[in-house]
Amino acid sequence: MASSLAWPWPSTWTPPSAAAVSAEPLVTDAARSDLSELDEPGLVAACLAGRPGAFDLVVERHRRPVYHLCYRYVGNHEDASDLAQDVFLRAYRGLKNFRGGSSLSTWLYRIAVNVCLNRVAAKMPQTEPIDARQVVDAGAESASETILKEERGRRVRAAIAQLPPKQRSTLILRMYHDMSHQQIADALGSSVGAVKANFFHALGNLKKLLEHE
């Protein structure tokens, strides 16, 4: 069942052309300013109307949490960035079906969860080795503290990856994206009761998995 939901995995990420990166979208500052003043339904309407720069703004507003959510599932930067790109592409294709029943971020999370679960079903995540991670903000921690923290993080990520899909999704959305039980229920298409039950079992299973290591 799960494998039947898998889609052809995009080829290895290739960086965008230099021209594409350097070339800003053909949107004037005034037009961009107009777009940035739009509320969520207005921005969605602008996207549907094909206004230049409208979807760029959607990406800009939501790219970070979507990328983080994808990273929580796959545990490495390359796959997370590919998945996040796929999330936005699917969102663009499906934007005409967005009814505004939930917030745009909840709707994007829903897409992201489906994309990530399909991905995880098709290919086990490859977590990055510690020395390859892009740790930007190590703060004032000592090297040994950083290594220990990374090691704990690796163990917890590995344990989370072993949780059943609903428990994993509930845990990630609750713990790392600060979503309410109701928002998670909306994103996963379940009930608040089921969300709380999944969260309870997720924590219990994590405790057991981490004890057995």
Binding site: P16, H68, K96, V136, L171, L203, G204
Partner: protein, 208 residues
């Protein structure tokens, strides 16, 4: 409460997340089992909360937006489904014209034989049928007089609608904007000639 008076999963989750304080749940202080389970859940939650996502470099976000922009540029506008594109102007002219021609050919093909037999008695067209045929009469202006004369019902319709112009037909509610009739009657001169040629050929073949 569940499990013979112990806290349920929901109640434990509320305690773990601080939605309910320990003070509001006296059972926790009196039950070793529930207190132990609550401690385990809190420990697991604390471990999970420590794990952070390594933050990509600021340059990554610029590259990421560019990648998405490139991918989206290959896509049609979200609102442009095939149905929308089919009926949008000027894309609609080809399919609408084709449908209109097919409808006319179909109508002419199946009406002509019974109407053009010289030995057949003249048909008396009921008033209701005449009214229903009125919209088609606008398009029948395209037919030659000779063809109309061969068909008594067509001739009757032509007589009845001789003075009926497009605006009058529209006012009468026989047509609406964007309809097939509209497309046919707004064809270019070349398209009209082509349509007339096709109809003439078809009528000649059936009449032969």
């Amino acid at each position: 409460m569940s499990d013979i008076g112990h806290l349920s999963g929901d109640e434990l989750v509320d305690l773990v997340e601080g939605l309910v304080s320990d003070a509001d749940s006296p059972h926790v202080t009196s039950c070793d089992r529930c207190r132990g389970r609550l401690a385990d859940l809190r420990a697991a939650r604390a471990m999970v909360s420590e794990v952070e996502v390594p933050e990509p470099s600021p340059l990554f976000w610029k590259h990421f937006s560019a990648r998405v922009r490139e991918a989206v540029a290959q896509e049609p506008t979200p609102a442009d489904g095939w149905w929308h594109r089919l009926w949008s102007w000027p894309g609609a002219i080809a399919p609408v014209s084709a449908i209109a021609v097919l409808v006319l050919l179909f109508a002419v093909t199946f009406r002509a034989p019974s109407r053009t037999r010289p030995d057949a008695p003249a048909h008396v067209v009921p008033a209701a049928a005449t009214t229903a045929a009125a919209p088609a009469s606008v398009s029948l202006e395209l037919l030659s007089d000779a063809l109309i004369a061969d068909d008594q019902s067509l001739a009757l319709v032509a007589d009845l609608t001789e003075s009926l112009g497009w605006d009058a037909a529209a006012d009468a509610g026989f047509v609406s904007d964007g309809s097939a009739e509209h497309a046919v009657t707004h064809m270019s001169a070349a398209d009209l000639q082509q349509l007339e040629r096709l109809l003439t050929e078809e009528m000649s073949r059936k009449g032969a």
